[in-house]
Symmetry: C2
Subunit: 332 residues, 2 copies
DNA sequence: ATCAAATATTGAATCGTTTAAAAGGCAACA
DNA sequence: TGTTGCCTTTTAAACGATTCAATATTTGAT
C-alpha cells in the first residue's frame, strides 16, 4: 500500500530533530527556537503535511466534532437551522456529523449511540419527543448537550427554541382581528413541545377574545404538505365549518391552501390562513401566506454558540427563547 | 476528571482475560470459545461499553467517515441530494461530515483540507468550478472521490449528475411547441457545467426548430429567487422582447414569475416559463411551474453508492448520468 | 572561568483499539 | 511417553500526535 500521509516522524527525520520538537513547532508551543521552528514549518509545507485529527483526538480526548441530530435535513425549517449550525461550526473550528432521525425514536437512539462512539465533543439534538429516556440518559452521562426547537419543562437541559406560545397567540389573535371566529388548528402531534405550546397560544388568544375552545376544531397529525391538504379535506367532509386556519407550520398551511383553492373556497375572503416558520416559499404563493416568522438560522447558530459555552465550562442550564414575529401577507 | 467511557481494558480486567480477547469477542472474530465470548459480551453490555471509533480509526486506517462538500445545504436542490447521501451513509455504516462551500472556491479548498486532515475515507464533492486545481489535486492524491451535480469532461473523475443537455433541450423544445419563439434563458454562471450544458441543450432545441440563437436572450448571473426577478426586470427595462423563459433552476423561475406577475404580464398567455430541478414548491405556486424533474435524492444516493464501490476497489472511472423528465404544469 | 538560571530539545509513555506472532492447553495417535 | 495438530489465549507492537519528565544547551552573572 502506498503511504498516503506525511507524519510528524517523517518531518522529524528530515529536519534532524525529534518528533516532539516538530509537534511543538507546528502547534505554536513555546520552548522552541525561531530557527528550528522556521526550518520545521518549511519542511512541513514542502511535504504538504496535514495533522492527523484522528490521532490528535485520541490523545487529546477532544474530537472537535459536534453531532447534529434532527428530524429531516431536507425540510425547509431544519435545513435553515442546520445552515446556522454549520456556519457556527466553521467559526469555532469544529466539524459536524449530521444524522437524520426521520422523526423516529429508534433512529434517534441509534444516532446518539453512534455519535457517542465517535467521541463527539458535544451534541445538538432536536428530539422526536415520543419518549425522553434518551435525553435523560445523555444528561446522566453528562454529555455536553443543547436541545433545539424543542422544550423540556422538567429536564435540566440547555435549549434554544422559538417562543411557540407567542407564535400561537399572535397568529390566532390576528385571525380573530381579521374577523375569523371559527378557527381550525391544524397541528402536529402533541408529544412535540412546539405543537403543545402553539396550541396553548391558540387557546390563550381564543380566551382573550371570548371565543370558546372546541376540540372539534383541532386536527392533529403529520406535518407535510399532503397532511395539510388531508386535514382540510377531512374537516370539510365532516361538515366542520370554519373561517380561519392556523397551521402548525407553513408546509401544512400551504397544503391547506391548496386544498381550499381546489374546493373553490376563496382565501382570505371565506377562509383566512396563517402558517408558522416563514419558509422562503410562503412569500411567493398565491395568495402569499401570512405566517409567524421564526429565526431558524439564528436558532442553529445560537444553539451552537451555547454548546460552545458548555464545552468551555458553563454549568448553569440555559433555556433560550427566540422571539417570533407576525408576517402579514395576502392569506389573511 | 471523571472517567467517561469504558475501555477494552476495563472489560478485560473484570473478565480476567487479555484486552485482545475482549477485542476479538466484540468484533465477532474467530478463535474464541463460546464461553469466553458470552462472558465478555455480558460484561460489555453491563458496563455500557461503546467502541472508541477514534482509536479504531487510527489503528485500522479507516474512519468510516465520508466528507460532503456542497454549495448550500439550505438550498432545496442540495438539501434533497444531501438527504440521499445521508440515507445511503446509514445503510453502509458510514457517517458524513458536511461542509458548505457557499459557492466560494477558497472555502471549498479549505473544506477539502479539513476533511483530509480528518482522514475521511472518501469525499463527495459538488465543486464550485471556478477553477479545478483542487479536484486535480484530489485525483493526484488518489483520494476516493465522487463528484456530483457537476461534469468535468477532461478529468478522470467519478461523477453522478443529471442529463443537463437533455434538460435544456426538452425544456426549450416544450416552450417552442407551446408557441414561444423568443425564449429568454436565465442562466447561472457558465463556469458551472450544468449551466453550460443546459445552454447547449437550449441551443440544440432552437436549432432543431430553425430558430436563430441570440446572445441578447441569454442572461447569466446568480441563481437565487431575487436573481430571477432581477433578470426579468433587466430584460424588460432593456426592451428585450420575449415570449418564453427557460430558467436554470426553479428558484430563478419562481423569481421570474413573480417579476412577470408584478408587471402584469400573464403567464402562460403572454410569456411561458419553464424551470429546472422540480423542487417541492414548484407544484404549488400560481400558476404552478412547468419544470424539468431531476432525481435529486437518487443523485445523492447513487453518488454515495459509487463512492462505496471505489472504496471497495473499483478502479475504472464511471460518469453516471441520471435521466430527467419534463413535468408540464400551468406556467406553459 | 564557574555556577546558576533560563531556554531548547529529547525520550518515553500515553490515548484505545487492532493485528501479527508467539505461546499455552488439550486431545489424538503412534 | 512423546509428537502432531488444533483451538484458544496472551504478548507485544503499532497507528500518529501529545505530554511529562529528564536531559542538553545556551545565556548571564559573578
Amino acid at each position: 500500500m502506498v503511504k498516503k500521509y506525511v507524519t510528524l516522524k517523517d518531518i522529524a527525520k528530515i529536519a534532524g530533530v525529534s518528533v516532539n520538537t516538530v509537534s511543538r513547532a507546528l502547534n505554536n508551543k513555546p520552548d522552541i527556537s525561531k530557527k528550528t521552528k522556521k526550518k520545521i514549518l518549511k519542511i512541513a509545507k514542502e511535504l504538504n503535511y496535514r495533522k492527523d485529527f484522528t490521532a490528535s483526538s485520541l490523545r487529546r480526548k477532544e474530537s472537535k466534532i459536534v453531532g447534529v441530530i434532527l428530524a429531516d435535513s431536507a425540510n425547509p425549517f431544519y435545513s435553515e437551522v442546520l445552515k446556522g449550525i454549520e456556519a457556527a461550526s466553521k467559526e469555532f473550528g469544529y466539524n459536524i456529523i449530521l444524522i437524520n432521525s426521520e422523526r423516529d425514536y429508534e433512529q434517534e437512539v441509534e444516532a446518539v449511540n453512534i455519535l457517542l462512539s465517535r467521541r463527539i465533543d458535544g451534541l445538538l439534538l432536536s428530539p422526536v419527543q415520543e419518549r425522553q429516556d434518551d435525553v435523560e440518559e445523555l444528561i446522566r452521562l453528562r454529555i455536553p448537550l443543547v436541545i433545539f426547537a424543542r422544550h423540556f419543562e422538567d429536564l435540566p437541559v440547555n435549549e434554544v427554541r422559538s417562543d411557540d406560545i407567542k407564535a400561537g397567540y399572535i397568529a390566532t389573535s390576528h385571525l380573530i382581528e381579521r374577523g375569523a371566529k371559527k378557527i381550525l388548528m391544524v397541528n402536529g402531534y402533541l408529544h412535540k413541545s412546539p405543537a403543545r405550546l402553539r396550541l396553548t397560544g391558540y387557546k390563550q388568544a381564543l380566551a382573550k377574545y371570548g371565543i370558546n375552545y372546541s376540540d372539534k376544531l383541532l386536527i392533529v397529525g403529520d406535518i407535510g404538505m399532503e397532511d395539510g391538504k388531508k386535514a382540510i379535506d377531512e374537516a370539510l367532509s365532516r361538515g366542520i365549518s370554519f373561517d380561519g386556519v392556523f397551521a402548525y407550520n407553513d408546509m401544512l398551511a400551504l397544503g391547506a391552501m391548496k386544498a381550499l383553492k381546489e374546493k373553490g373556497i376563496r382565501i382570505p375572503e371565506e377562509v383566512k390562513v396563517v402558517g408558522c416558520d416563514d419558509i422562503l416559499f410562503s412569500a411567493i404563493t398565491t395568495p402569499s401566506l401570512t405566517t409567524v416568522k421564526m429565526k431558524k438560522y439564528e436558532m442553529g447558530y445560537e444553539a451552537f454558540k451555547l454548546l460552545i459555552k458548555v464545552l468551555r465550562g458553563k454549568k448553569r442550564i440555559e433555556k433560550k427563547v427566540l422571539d417570533v414575529e407576525l408576517i402579514i401577507r395576502e392569506s389573511t
